[in-house]
């Protein structure tokens, strides 16, 4: 259950929600150290640590050179020794430099040591396309972490979720991959005044509906909502579900929605092949096969690296129109 001692409600941005979570948790837990490129005086490439250096100083905000492998290993090693650490890869793409540390060291340590060593580290990175950032700066491979036993994976879509989930991530006992979306940082949304946390493993139903379930992750939640608005005009009532955390996955809520609507479409900025979209199809089959009135549909990015040309990139990434068109097809079943 989401815990809150909230009173009023404010509109803040996705990026500021993260900063609030960091500030509150770093005040609360003196052991937290934050490691990454440009996260000190500069306040983060995406402004994702603005103001924190002033408050917490050089010791707890550790600017690094361009050494994601080393920085990630150091964060894990610090976590193993009793210091809760955040390592910011900035662009999730740069986590590719550090996969061996994340997958071999952080993910395995609890199991292989039979729980004697824990690595409470948050690996933070921003995924997805924004403004023709190109092939090297737009990857969405969050599913790789989800497929790695020993890692939890969080993919918030709203400021509210960023704050509540980041606070929970910072209280976990093991490694959490916390993946924001670059294009969402400036988006705004309501959050309560007081403190609150959101447990990992609880999906959020953004919009109730009757005829089809749309499962969207991260930025694709807004695409799903747009598509739902289009479909509504055509008399199709879509329920939009955001798992919010990929691991643990709230299979119950997703399956409950599909059981109710009988149809599901998954919208994902990653390509379809071997990704999260197939996992939801499998979930649908495993949990509610007899309720399915149509084959689950996957609306994903086309299987190419992100093109620079805006025209091509628009074509590559799922749009509300593409989602609506695919949903219309399964509504015919």
């Amino acid at each position: 259950m989401e815990s809150a001692v909230a009173t009023g409600v404010r509109e803040i941005s996705y990026v500021d929600a993260g900063i609030e979570a960091l500030r509150e948790e770093m005040q609360r837990d003196q052991s937290i150290v934050y490691i990454g490129q440009g996260i000190g005086p500069r306040g983060g490439n995406f402004r994702q640590t603005r103001g924190l250096w002033k408050e917490f100083g050089d010791h707890r905000l550790r600017d690094t050179g361009i050494c994601e492998l080393g920085a990630t290993g150091i964060a894990i090693g610090a976590a193993m020794a009793g210091t809760r650490a955040i390592v910011d890869e900035v662009f999730l793409d740069f986590a590719l430099e550090a996969m061996t540390q994340i997958v071999q060291q952080a993910a395995n340590i609890s199991y292989s040591s039979h729980g004697k060593i824990k690595a409470p580290v948050v690996v933070r990175g921003a995924m997805g396309s924004v403004r023709s950032a190109g092939a090297h700066h737009s990857h969405c491979f969050y599913a790789w972490f989800a497929s790695t036993p020993g890692l939890k994976v969080v993919t918030p879509a709203t400021p509210y979720d960023v704050k509540g989930l980041l606070k929970s991530a910072l209280r976990e006992n093991g490694p959490v991959i916390f993946i924001e979306h670059k294009a969402l940082y400036n988006s705004k949304g309501p959050i309560p005044e007081g403190e609150y946390t959101i447990p990992l493993g609880e999906a959020r139903i953004h919009r109730p509906g009757k005829h089809v379930t749309l499962v969207g992750v991260s930025k694709m939640v807004s695409v799903a909502l747009e598509a739902a608005a289009i479909l509504e005009k055509e008399g199709v009532s879509a329920e939009v579900v955001d798992p919010r955390t990929i691991v643990p996955l709230d299979r119950k809520t997703i399956a409950g929605s599909i059981r109710k609507t009988g149809r599901v479409a998954i919208i994902d900025e990653a390509p379809a092949m071997c990704g999260f979209s197939g996992e939801v199809v499998a979930l649908a089959c495993e949990e509610c096969f007899d309720s399915l009135d149509a084959p689950p549909a996957r609306i994903c990015s086309l299987p190419v690296p992100n093109p620079f040309s805006p025209q091509l990139e628009d074509q590559m990434i799922p749009s509300a129109e593409r989602v609506a068109a695919e949903v219309r097809k399964i509504m015919e079943n």
Partner: protein
């Protein structure tokens, strides 16, 4: 003093400079997609190195790579059209500033990933060694790349396999806002060559003839089976890290001004007029020619067509 060579280098550096200022102008006016990192102030490095290369030599560049492309001989039209995402661009609009490829000119790409070009250039040098092609490969990279595993593993391979490769570090003192002295305790890049038993040389990267000379020696050594060299060219970007960064939050105005006073183009211009007796009118002519070249490139890029959405899947494999 080889005045002809100096004039050529002057003209090339000017091309690089004017090109970037034009990109800056259009980018600020919201006409170019994506992100751009400009080479303003560092022109002597790419120019001085590439002037020593054969057309079939291969260079690997960085996120700050427009200048390298032009210095290696890629036409301004091709580069500008790519920055504009047009089909006539070097990568047919698929790549943009950080994925600009022109193998037909020995330009093996800018790169969005810091350090990645170092192993790649080393591999191309291995290919040259195996094919006995006589080619040399050059990896350009910034001070930011020096503390990365790619640098370490790449240079070690270059040395132990005695490959025809030259490693050119453009040490402009900062990686984004991070001062090199905050990223490492050893602020001499050249000194690190010793770790790989490779010659290392530090040069004034704002003196095109110093760059030219060091590169000439290193490239000749590489070409004659003498193995790799690490060159550290000390330089400075006059602009922010990328367009949008004022570049003065982490650098003092004095520091920026002091470096601007060492502008490689102005320095060479003064030398040409003051010491080599070149007429100012000759330099003015170069400026006019560069302007005409640039106008043509921009117009070409502007008028070129955009990729068709239906072609989105082309060349994925």
């Amino acid at each position: 003093m080889d005045v002809k060579l100096l004039l050529e280098l002057y003209g090339k550096m000017l091309e690089l400079r004017e090109f970037e200022l034009k990109v800056q102008d259009l980018y600020r006016r919201g006409m170019l997609p994506g992100f751009v990192h400009l080479y303003v102030g560092e022109e002597a490095v790419g120019t001085g190195v590439c002037a020593n290369l054969r057309p079939d030599d291969l260079i690997y560049s960085t996120h700050r790579g427009h200048g390298h492309a032009l210095a290696k001989g890629v036409p301004g039209r091709d580069v500008f059209a790519e920055l504009w995402g047009k089909t006539t661009g070097s990568s047919a609009g698929r790549g943009g500033s950080m994925h600009l490829y022109a193998p037909e000119y020995g330009f093996m790409g800018t790169n969005g990933i810091v350090g990645a070009g170092i192993p790649l250039a080393t591999g191309s040098a291995l290919s040259a060694q195996l094919r006995k092609s006589g080619q040399v490969a050059v990896a350009f990279f910034g001070d930011g790349a020096v503390n990365s595993g790619s640098f370490h593993e790449g240079l070690n391979f270059g040395a132990v396999w005695n490959l025809p490769v030259v490693y050119v570090c453009e040490n402009n003192l900062y990686a984004t806002e991070m001062a090199f002295r905050r990223a490492t305790k050893n602020t001499s890049v050249a000194s690190r060559a010793a770790a790989y038993k490779m010659p290392g040389v530090e040069i004034d990267g704002n003196d095109v003839m110093a760059v030219y000379g060091a590169a000439k020696e290193a490239i000749a050594r590489a070409r004659s089976d003498g193995g790799p060299t690490l060159i550290e060219a000390k330089t400075y970007r006059f602009v922010g890290h990328h367009e949008g960064d004022p570049g003065t939050d982490y650098r003092t105005r004095e520091e920026v001004e002091e470096w601007k006073s060492r502008c490689p183009i102005r320095r060479l211009g003064q030398k040409l007029v003051g010491e080599a007796g070149v007429a100012q009118a000759d330099l003015d002519k170069i400026h006019r020619d560069v302007q005409a070249w640039l106008d043509d490139a921009v117009q070409f890029a502007r008028q070129s067509p955009e990729p068709k959405p239906s072609e989105v899947l082309d060349h994925a494999f």
